[in-house]
Symmetry: C2
Subunit: 321 residues, 2 copies
């Protein structure tokens, strides 16, 4: 019998799907990528996943029987115990027993995880949080995702939904959040919160860069464009970003007081594209808004998109041990 | 050699000190109580603690050599690893190696703990949270204390300060908190936050009950008086209390989204004195402010002041095992 010395990390994104074959040290051996099928439905999307996995195995010159497990990270809520996808924005799969169907198709144990949990765990296994025990991971982007590691284990809570730090309320009665509550961290500190203000600035003639590149369309505001407007010296844009960073620091300061963690990691598009322009005011605000006299580290996630691959693979593999 | 079948739980309060001898089932066998010495300093306060412990042992008809451990709960920050008291409001002890001094004096292992952590743990061992694994305990009073139990273990974090849920910011830029931040849960939902509004109401002639019993002195507002004013049908008082309860629910809803716990327990003077007048609006707000579609329980702590005794004793005993 062949040794089980390979694992697959699978990142199911709204625009692309990525499958990577990894070795015991979570080093990549081969990968395959494809555009996420549009309007495909459950069965056809499953078929696309299966063939992408076989393609990645070919690229890695590996056999199915070498696989210890497949970890699959999805951008939406799951029923972890049942191995079911509940729904995913931009992916045509819903209320589907993905774990069992995929196990049936490939013959290898499959573990489903939420992508933010997987990303936090990936940073813990091989990235910025490598030597920490208690870690808060926060990923401001379209929303604000979060993952919690306690005593070296991903903390999931009673129903598997723990870590929704984006929906802690930091400004009761403040801006409406997509979740229906008011003043959630996500509503005041996400890229979307920034984008709302930037299209307003564009409309008022206060950000020529935004107006030129995105017009007044909120869907066209990307992190890179935010950086360009800041670098063009557009002060109202800098103020909007720093205000969002201040709010993120309010939330992180509260999380520090609640968890007293070893490390806080912040990742996602805003962090990757804006760097210190964003992280410095976040850190300043986090320290101002924590009561604990703490020198807890705040660091940028270091693996980028790979964190989800490594994390989903590691969670799947460790579950077989 | 005698069997170690007794443990002492010690509650060091700002007005009284209580020592209770407990058996293996954490049932009380005997106790002793004394007014906390005023202006006594470290050494004299230690002497009072030692003689209270001996008195409790006499009451329980127990010998020192039967003691497995002494758990001592203090109302302030500690350096747990060093066994040091840092400071305590209303107790004349500061920057003092209480653990080692007390071990020396009695010859029994001593474990120091913060009183809110001990209270939460007591409810977990023998009270309202008995069958839960992941528990958030919140105790609104003069401040808002919190304790966190994860996988059946008291969660302490990196420096031992975890669980400061009272200083999560729920209303960024809101009322000033005693900690110097703005809009902490404690600043908007504690008994003190209610008391600030009640003396204002009294001064404006909108709460005859408060004016009669406490005048306009914030220090005289007790939970029992708040209940009396509510029962007298003073609508502005009801509104102030329900506003504080709403804010507490904002914080609890966020904690539910973050921790996805089995159970939330709420205790302390406001809960004990106001009961459902307070708990019902708290629960309604908690459910409105949680994104997780959760039927997580919200229950009142059931042990009252005993929770600190049982919790400090259990933490001390289990640490010897």
């Amino acid at each position: 019998m062949a040794e089980k010395n390979r694992v697959i990390g699978f990142d199911m994104g709204g625009t692309k799907m990525l499958a990577v074959v990894l070795d015991e040290k979570y080093e990549p051996c081969g990968q395959a990528k494809v555009r996420t099928p549009v309007g495909a439905g459950n069965k056809e999307t499953l078929e696309a996943i299966v063939s992408l996995i076989h393609e990645a195995l070919d690229e890695a010159d590996a056999k199915t029987k070498q696989l210890a497990a497949i970890g699959i990270a999805v951008p939406g809520p799951i029923d972890r115990e049942a191995g079911r996808v509940i729904s995913m924005p931009n992916v045509d799969m819903q209320d589907y027993a993905l774990r069992d169907k995929l196990e049936e198709a490939i013959g290898v144990p499959v573990v489903l995880e939420n992508d933010v949990n997987a990303g936090t765990y990936g940073e813990f296994v091989a990235g910025a949080a490598k030597d920490a025990e208690n870690v808060i991971g926060v990923f401001p982007g379209t929303g604000v995702g979060g993952g919690i590691i306690i005593d070296g284990t991903l903390y999931r809570g009673r129903t598997g939904s723990a870590g929704e730090v984006g929906h802690m309320i930091v400004d009761a009665g403040g801006w409406r959040c997509g979740c229906g509550k008011y003043g959630c961290l996500e509503a005041v500190a996400s890229k979307t919160a920034i984008a709302k203000d930037l299209v307003h600035l564009a409309m008022k003639g206060q950000s020529p860069t935004v107006l030129e590149k995105a017009g007044t369309d909120i869907a066209k505001i990307k992190s890179k464009l935010i950086r360009q407007a800041m670098e063009a010296g557009e002060k109202p844009v800098v103020e909007v970003v720093e205000r969002a960073a201040w709010y993120l620091g309010v939330g992180l300061g509260s999380l520090v007081d609640i968890f007293d963690p070893d490390l806080v990691i912040v990742g996602g598009g805003l962090v990757e594209k804006l760097g210190d322009l964003y992280l410095k005011p976040v850190e300043k605000s986090m320290r101002a808004h924590s009561m604990i006299d703490s020198d807890v580290g705040l660091v940028a996630a270091s693996l980028g998109d790979d964190s989800v691959i490594v994390g989903s693979a590691a969670l799947a593999w460790r579950e077989q041990e």
